[in-house]
Amino acid sequence: MEALAHVNYWAAIALAMIGLYAIIAPSNLIKKLIGLGMFQSAIFLIYITAGKVEGGTAPIIDAAYEVYSNPLPHVLILTAIVVAVSTLAVGLALTVAIKRAYGTVEEDEIVEQDRR
């Protein structure tokens, strides 16, 4: 059991690495945004894991429970999720505008067109 004490962090690390790779490697702008979403949620996992208390329950006060998980990371991540979706919306709108201006959403082709 003790060996698994950090399993959530390992998952978060794996997801962050996958996400970062998915941001930088592909040429397609939408795939980059998808990678960005995964990268951000990996970070959320680190926060929420840090807020979990053993045997605790959701931080909604009720006479039946005594141990609650830490509410602060939840609040921070709620805000961060909103930020993530806002960034995504702006990114998608930019992508659509780029498609209109360049006729493509592949980074390589955009760079190529700008060089000409």
């Binding site: 950090h6 399993v7 959530n8 962090y9 998952a11 690390i13 794996a14 997801l15 962050a16 690495m17 996958i18 970062l20 790779y21 930088i24 490697a25 040429s27 397609n28 939408i30 795939k31 945004l33 998808i34 990678g35 979403g37 949620s41 959320f44 680190i46 929420i48 840090a50 807020g51 979990k52 208390v53 053993e54 045997g55 605790g56 931080p59 909604i60 006060i61 998980s69 509410p71 602060l72 609040v75 921070l76 991540i77 709620l78 805000t79 909103v82 979706v85 960034t87 995504l88 919306a89 702006v90 998608l92 709108a93 930019l94 659509v96 498609k99 959403v105 592949e106 390589d108 000409r116």
Partner: protein
């Protein structure tokens, strides 16, 4: 609840691990899919599994948001944008050493950092000690709201939430400015050819 009697710790952990396996599987699928629409759909699944994981980790408000946002509207927006830009990503993996290097660097640093973090669920962890007990202990009395997440969100850290609303407002107006109102004339776009 007979499940409780058998030791919540063990059950939490089993479910947690099951979900994490799913999560990583979904992430790998997203990265390997070339069809953008499919990738967007599986990204929705990834969010959704994340939402289930949040429930296990007691973050029900976050789970609620993730289910509504990550798996819902995000997917819809993605699909709409893909509809406007085309469904297939080109197969170009240029200079693969840079992304691999970057993700290895970040991954390595994360491993280094997280090894030092308190164990999963440790009630003695510093994060659980300093300000959190105040919220849990005084929150309901001070704000009259039993859901401490709401109390912290709206009152103790109300200014963060004002910022959050401003972010989403910025995004809305930004999208409007980028695509909305009248069609933008890009006369200069021709000159560049």
């Amino acid at each position: 609840m007979d499940a409780q009697a058998q030791g919540p710790r063990a059950i939490d952990l089993y479910v947690d691990i099951l979900l994490i396996v799913l999560l990583v599987a979904a992430a790998l699928v997203v990265v390997s899919l070339r069809n953008l629409l499919a990738a967007a759909l599986v990204l929705g699944i990834y969010s959704l599994v994340m939402a289930a994981l949040w429930v296990v980790l007691d973050a029900v408000d976050v789970a609620f948001t993730e289910a509504a946002v990550g798996a819902g509207v995000t997917t819809v927006f993605m699909v709409l944008a893909i509809a406007a830009t085309g469904r297939h990503a080109r197969v170009t993996h240029r200079r693969p050493w840079l992304p691999i290097l970057a993700s290895l660097a970040v991954g390595g640093l994360l491993i280094y950092g997280t090894l030092d973090l308190p164990d999963f669920g440790d009630p003695q962890a510093p994060a659980q000690q300093h300000v959190a007990p105040h919220y849990l202990g005084q929150g309901e009395a001070e704000t009259g709201v039993p859901n401490i997440v709401t109390a912290v969100l709206a009152s103790y850290r109300g200014f963060d939430t004002l910022g959050e609303v401003t972010v989403i407002f910025t995004a809305g107006m930004g999208v409007l400015l980028l695509l909305g109102v009248a069609r933008r004339r890009r006369m200069d776009a021709r000159d560049d050819e």
